[in-house]
């Protein structure tokens, strides 16, 4: 803005220098604010940006004794090795498939629940239900794994019921075919309530006159949901969907890592847990970093692409 004004003006030089001294005055006036921002900036440089630089070991033959700078460059060698590894493609497929399942079942769940909650007229009942269903969000996956083991293990609640009815116990936790449903269901159980909050906020903002007008026009409640409630949720749905694509390569480390075991690797091992194992238990730092970098780049690219497309199509975007 300032620059274009300055160009058009014959006294450009004067105005420019005046603007500059004004800017300097503002910076000086605000210097205390910069001091306050300093800890966060230093912190982010150390704990976020230095590791980004450290990711360069994906292109090096990294030796702990030589350090990042001293280790020799090897170009794309590690990536070539990764692409030739059968196991990598397995965890890659697993991650995508599990995330697609999460998208299909987990993503709509809070939207539907929010709409159902919104239809409840009894204030106290509604608030009580909300209070209860938000709770699991605050419990860690370690604790939830403990609860799940206590319910689903061979001596657990469900198997006791099966045995009581004359059945044979099912080993839910070591059954490869049951692991994905376990991930999806436990994920929905933990986050469905919390997920509604953002939609409830959007629903609270709908003008009640719209519903009144629809009632006058003879629209029943189902029609009101289709024509008023859902469209008003659409902007927030598309934003969350875009963010969702930005974590398409994240397997949900906390959940998988606390629930899985060697018996379910085939269907449940994801990129994050794979990176952890080959990096920190097998010590293949460079290969693990290369995979980590790869998934970060894919995530970021997906986020940008989906955001771009969404902006083109509907005008909705996260930036």
């Amino acid at each position: 803005m300032d620059a274009s004004v300055a160009k058009a003006n014959p006294d450009a030089g004067k105005i420019k220098s005046a603007a500059r001294s004004e800017l300097r005055k503002r910076i000086m006036g605000y210097r205390m604010l910069y001091v306050m921002l300093l800890p966060a900036i230093v912190f982010l440089i150390i704990f976020s940006y230095i590791p980004m630089y450290g990711a360069s070991i994906a292109f090096k033959d990294f030796w702990i004794t030589k350090g990042i700078l001293g280790s020799p460059w090897v170009g794309l060698e590690h990536f070539e090795k990764i692409f030739r590894t059968e196991k990598f493609w397995q965890v890659f497929r697993n991650t995508i498939e599990i995330n697609l399942l999460r998208l299909v079942f987990g993503f709509p769940a809070p939207i539907i629940l929010a709409i159902l909650l919104n239809e409840v007229r009894h204030k106290f009942f509604k608030r009580s239900i909300q209070t209860i269903i938000y709770l699991p969000h605050f419990i860690s996956w370690v604790t939830i794994a403990g609860i799940i083991f206590s319910i689903l293990s061979t001596e657990g609640l469900v198997n006791n019921i099966i045995v009581a009815f004359g059945g044979t116990p099912i080993n839910f936790l070591t059954n490869d075919g049951m692991f994905r449903p376990l991930l999806i269901i436990s994920g929905i159980w933990k986050e469905i309530g919390w997920g509604t909050i953002i939609y409830m906020a959007a629903l609270a903002g709908i003008n009640p006159d719209l519903y009144e007008a629809a009632t006058v026009d003879g629209a029943n409640r189902f029609k009101q949901v289709i024509y008023i409630t859902l469209p008003s949720l659409l902007p927030i749905i598309s934003i969350l969907l875009i963010l969702n694509f930005g974590s398409m390569m994240n397997g949900g480390f906390d959940q998988v890592f606390n629930l899985y075991n060697t018996m379910v690797y085939e269907s449940g091992d994801v990129i994050d847990t794979y990176v952890y194992r080959i990096g920190l238990t097998q010590g293949e730092y460079s290969v693990a970093t290369a995979i980590g970098l790869l998934l970060n780049v894919i995530n970021f690219t997906l986020l940008v692409l989906v955001n771009y497309t969404s902006k083109k199509l509907s005008g909705q975007g996260i930036y």
């Binding site: 909300q130 209860i132 699991p136 936790l173 953002i198």
Partner: protein
């Protein structure tokens, strides 16, 4: 919106029943573990489906507290939670405040610099190597120092700060107060409810933190409760693969003890939960609408 049609009434009834079921499904697992932790051994072997136990005992809790591990882990968790929360809250607040000044030169560049870290990171291994190089491995500080700032909390707090009337700040500036004074004397005291909310969020995160100790703390004496719980669960869980058919006393005891430890990690959260719950809906709403 009010319809009294028959189909509307049926829908309402089905809806309420469904939501009640959902609430039960949400709460029952906790109840199951609670009952499992106070059941005496003789009752526990009969069946694991006890909605309301007729007999109960605290032997599992007594056992847990008679050993050294859990009380020590509780102390570590408490220490890390209290110290970590104040530290993180302070950094979050002092970062959020300058960013509400729309005309701060470089503001959007700084904000971008910060938000970028939400969407891109160097990955696990470079982070691990960094912590190692900083000499924080096997040092309790690793649970506190690296967790200085959550962007999400910062953005929510920034939105809270923005709702404070500017006039208060202007009049303080007239009296010659600097930004540091304004921040500590005006902004912080006026934001106590929101600081408490964010603080409780941070505290829950710290209490639940098992990831950092798993990566960086090898010494069991330094483990917080969440990590001890994980260790016990994972070691015990290998039993399920072996499929123990004969129920022996030791195994059942181990089960009630596991349940007791799960309860010990859940109870503090349930205690603070009502306090967070009061505020977080508003906080998350504001934060989400803004971003």
């Amino acid at each position: 919106m009010k319809t009294t049609s028959l189909s509307g009434k049926i829908f309402d009834a089905v809806n309420i029943v469904f939501l009640l079921l959902l609430a039960i499904v949400t709460l029952y697992p906790f109840w199951h573990v609670l009952i499992g932790s106070v059941l005496p051994y003789e009752e526990a072997i009969k069946s694991s489906f006890n909605l309301f136990p007729t007999k109960w005992s605290f032997e599992a809790y007594e056992y847990v507290f008679s050993k050294n591990t859990i009380p020590k882990a509780l102390l570590v968790s408490l220490f890390v939670t209290v110290l970590g929360t104040f530290y993180q809250l302070f950094i979050t607040a002092i970062t959020a405040y300058p960013l509400i000044k729309q005309d701060l030169p470089g503001r959007s560049a700084i904000f971008l610099f910060m938000v970028f870290t939400m969407f891109f990171s160097g990955g696990l291994i470079p982070y691990y190597l960094l912590i190692k190089n900083l000499g924080m491995v096997n040092h309790l500080s690793v649970m506190i120092i690296p967790a200085a700032l959550s962007m999400y909390n910062m953005i929510v707090l920034k939105t809270f700060f923005q709702s404070i009337p500017l006039e208060l700040e202007e009049s303080a500036k007239m009296d010659g107060a600097g930004y540091m004074t304004i921040f500590f004397r005006i902004i912080l005291p006026l934001s106590i409810p929101s600081l408490a909310t964010i603080g409780l969020f941070i505290a829950v995160g710290q209490w639940n933190n098992w990831y950092q100790p798993m990566l960086f703390l090898n010494d069991k004496d330094q483990w917080p409760l969440a990590m001890v719980l994980r260790d016990i669960l994972i070691n015990n869980n290998t039993n399920t693969t072996a499929s123990v058919s004969a129920v022996n006393e030791q195994f059942m005891l181990a089960d009630t003890i596991k349940n007791a430890i799960v309860m010990i990690s859940v109870i503090p959260i349930i205690i603070v939960y009502p306090f967070i719950q009061k505020h977080f809906v508003k906080g998350v709403m504001i934060g989400s609408i803004k971003s």
